[in-house]
Amino acid sequence: MSLIELHYDVPGDDFTRAGEASGDVKRQLKQLGFDPAKIRNVVIALYEGEINMVIHAGGGEIDVSIDPDCIRMVLRDQGPGIPDVALAMQEGYSTAPDNVRALGFGAGMGLPNIKKYTNDMQIETEIGVGTTMYLRVDV
């Protein structure tokens, strides 16, 4: 059992609400006195994950576990799955549609940013079933 466990539902296709989970986690970590640099890593990874869920998966769920030595995040969706994870991990590769790009997303930085800002990132994905990401940031 972790010190604090948080759960968020991420609605699909609602860009106005994307970032609510990341914003709340940021507030909680700040109140708990975590290093601002570590908080930044957590919330950047989480926000990218939220946006991916909204763009590609019709929403999903996020669980965050806060411990004194690490923050763990599990992002679970029932979207289409990622056909080629290695390709999706390449900076600049994007399958985001034009309407999403017009909002400033779809630069192909989502998964690379998540990898960059976490100490561990594991992806389980199955076509037609969904994707689950397990992230850890050491603090």
């Binding site: 930044r40 926000y47 946006i51 997303f105 630069a107």
Partner: protein, 108 residues
């Protein structure tokens, strides 16, 4: 230099006011949100043309001192509400990002 001082220096229009006494530590120009979020530094003045709710979220998460909407780019109504809720300074200018960033760079 504070947000207020920079606003006065460049004759910026204040669209939302959270904490104009906040110090600006640097600047960042960009419109691709993931790119900005991973590279802008805390206390940066962010020059962009993106005035949507997601830009507000990125500013909060990256901890920017303020957003300056360049070339009179509009701030969406729901973005204005979100900026007010989340305490984000949003300013506007008719100048482009290069001119504004150059002016800021000269005084930092």
């Amino acid at each position: 230099m504070t947000v207020q001082e920079f606003a006065e220096m460049q004759n910026l229009t204040i669209l939302t006011e959270a904490d104009l006494t906040r110090d600006i530590g640097g600047g960042y120009c960009g419109d691709l949100l993931s790119w900005v979020m991973s590279r802008a530094q805390s206390d940066d003045c962010w020059f962009t043309v993106m005035g949507n709710v997601n830009a507000i979220a990125v500013s909060v998460l990256a901890d920017c001192a303020c957003i300056v909407l360049c070339e009179n780019a509009p701030l969406d109504e729901d973005a204005k509400k979100k900026a007010e809720q989340q305490g984000v300074n949003v300013l506007s200018s008719s100048q482009n990002a290069f001119a504004l960033a150059s002016a800021l760079g000269a005084v930092l």
